[in-house]
Amino acid sequence: MPPARQLRLLFGISGARPVQPGRARRPRVVAWAAPAVWLLTLSCGAASRDFVPVTRDVRSKGAAASVAVDRRDYVYIARRPHGVVGLVGAHFMTAEAAARSVDRIADELETCARRVEQRRELAPGAIQLVAITGSRGMGEITDMKIAPGGPVAANALECIVAPLRASPFPAATSAGIPALAIEATWGRE
């Protein structure tokens, strides 16, 4: 799939449950597409298991290291010893609420990564996703992309996706359904 289409799919939330039915979604594509390098690396770099998103906050080794994403591409960043979570954008939630969610995700990631590391099952990995408030008021993932290789998918499901599903999200309002797009890496020095 061409990277541009993947970009649209991921950040345009197309093909998934709409964030706000009936509204034009295209503008959000632009709003959330800033750290495109991440996604390009994900979609083009399937051959490289050591894919990493490169920002000042999310350090990496290997082929992707030459690519730089400016720090301002993230609205907010939460760093923990075992991982980093970057907020790409949020809709229908305040900046504070979005930052709180990102901090909570980073905390969960940290706790989980430590646990998984103890089991010797932690692999360096990365994920991008868009989460909205689901019907039960918890996080619901509409789009997701996981870096390839090893047990990365298992780590992502356990340390990011599962905690997100179990986290309360801000309630939907008449303006729309709260949504946030995040990117995260873990297991790197």
Partner: protein, 380 residues
């Protein structure tokens, strides 16, 4: 709109479950089968990464996955060993009645327990004298003045009985009332009067634990009454409706393994100067196996998708289970056939697949009972 594309999350789930089957289940499956022993460490590992109790709601700390997600996991784990998977998936059978009929307090307590510890659960309708005829169960539930019940009777063929921390027991206030007398009760393993019988020495799925459960005046506090007499039968039937697609998914896993093993063997084994894969009659068996996999998977996905959408579709649910079970049995027979004499010995994996497949036509409603359910839907 019809959309057969899996989401990235579902693809990640498959990847995770497939790796788990390859690394944790396949290497020990033959040994567990030989010893007739369920590997509890495998259950714990599956629980840790969210492959156990997939449909346990997220608001109670569970993975919060849908029925289609659950079917995807089940297919992969069953590819590794359907016996081990059956004991893992039996937890879904045990938690579904609580999802359907549990009070908020019961959900908090038991779902909380399931998410905080890698415990196993049993679901018990069957008795020595009542299997297909669920409404004919005899286990007695006698109401006490404080709203609690006392249960007396015997449950047979209960998956996970030796391992379960709690049981969902179906019992009746009066056997003559048949389905109108049945209630559902949550019974803790350490309840006074509850004993578990000997581990059944089975033909197949030997790695799953199966035993009798004896209830001798077991006191069940009111807080553990899931459905009072008169309301339990519906819970039992709706539970089966929701879990039957998982049996179809087990069938798909078994069939995929049959096909993979058969293809590999057919390319290797030579007769009349050529690989048996070049004989058209062998090719026909392989092709039929592939047909059955695809047909069953579509049925399973349709049934699970309906459940996820809140659409009641017991017809597809039963068809997925009935067709899948028969299809798996036939594929396993064909796999043994393709292996010839080697298919008939324990050195090769297909004899186990054949033994394992048979139970799919028996538990959660026999092949005949599924036909009755399907015919009832058709005839109205």
């Amino acid at each position: 709109m019809i959309d057969f594309e899996l989401t990235e999350e579902q693809k990640a789930l498959i990847d995770t479950a497939r790796r788990f089957a390859k690394e944790r289940i396949i290497p020990i499956a033959a040994e567990c089968d030989r010893k007739s022993e369920f590997p509890r460490d495998v259950f714990k590992a599956a629980w840790e990464i969210g492959l156990a109790n997939p449909t346990l709601p997220a608001e109670y700390g569970g993975p919060g996955l849908g029925d289609l997600d659950s079917a995807l996991i089940t297919e992969e784990l069953s590819y590794g060993c359907s016996g081990i998977d059956t004991s893992i998936t039996a937890n879904t059978l045990g938690l579904t009645p609580i999802k359907l009929a549990g009070s908020e307090a019961q959900k908090k307590k038991y779902f909380g327990w399931l998410t905080s510890e890698p415990i196993q659960v049993s679901y018990a309708t069957t008795e020595p004298g009542a299997g297909s005829d669920v409404a004919g169960l005899q286990c007695r539930a006698v109401k006490q003045s404080d709203g609690s019940y006392v249960l007396t009777g015997t449950k047979a063929w209960i998956t996970n009985a030796t391992l379960a921390s709690f049981f969902i027991i179906f019992a009746t206030e009066n056997p003559e009332l048949r389905h109108k007398g049945i209630g559902a009760f949550i019974v803790h393993r350490d309840a006074a009067g509850l004993t578990v019988g000997k581990h059944e020495d089975k033909l197949g799925q030997r790695a799953s634990d199966t035993a009798q459960v004896m209830l001798d005046g077991v006191h069940v506090p009111a807080a553990q009454v899931l459905a009072p007499p008169g309301h339990g039968f519906k819970v039992a039937m709706e539970t089966f409706n929701q879990t039957r697609p998982d049996i179809g998914a087990i069938a798909v896993g078994v069939m995929r393994r049959c096909l993979d093993e058969s293809v590999a063997y057919a390319k290797e084994r030579k007769t009349f100067g050529t690989a048996i894969a070049n004989h058209q009659l062998v090719q026909a068996m392989l092709a039929e196996m592939a047909i059955r996999i695809h047909a069953t998977r579509l049925l399973v996905h349709k049934a699970a998708w309906s459940l996820d959408k809140g659409i009641r579709d017991p017809l597809t649910s039963s068809i997925a289970k009935a067709y899948g079970a028969d299809a798996a049995m036939q594929s396993a027979l064909d796999a043994v056939q393709i292996f010839g004499g080697n298919g008939y010995v324990k050195e090769y994996p297909v004899e186990k697949l054949m033994r394992d497949a048979k139970i799919l036509q028996i538990y959660e409603g026999t092949a005949q009972v599924q036909r009755l359910v399907i015919a009832k839907q058709i005839l109205g």
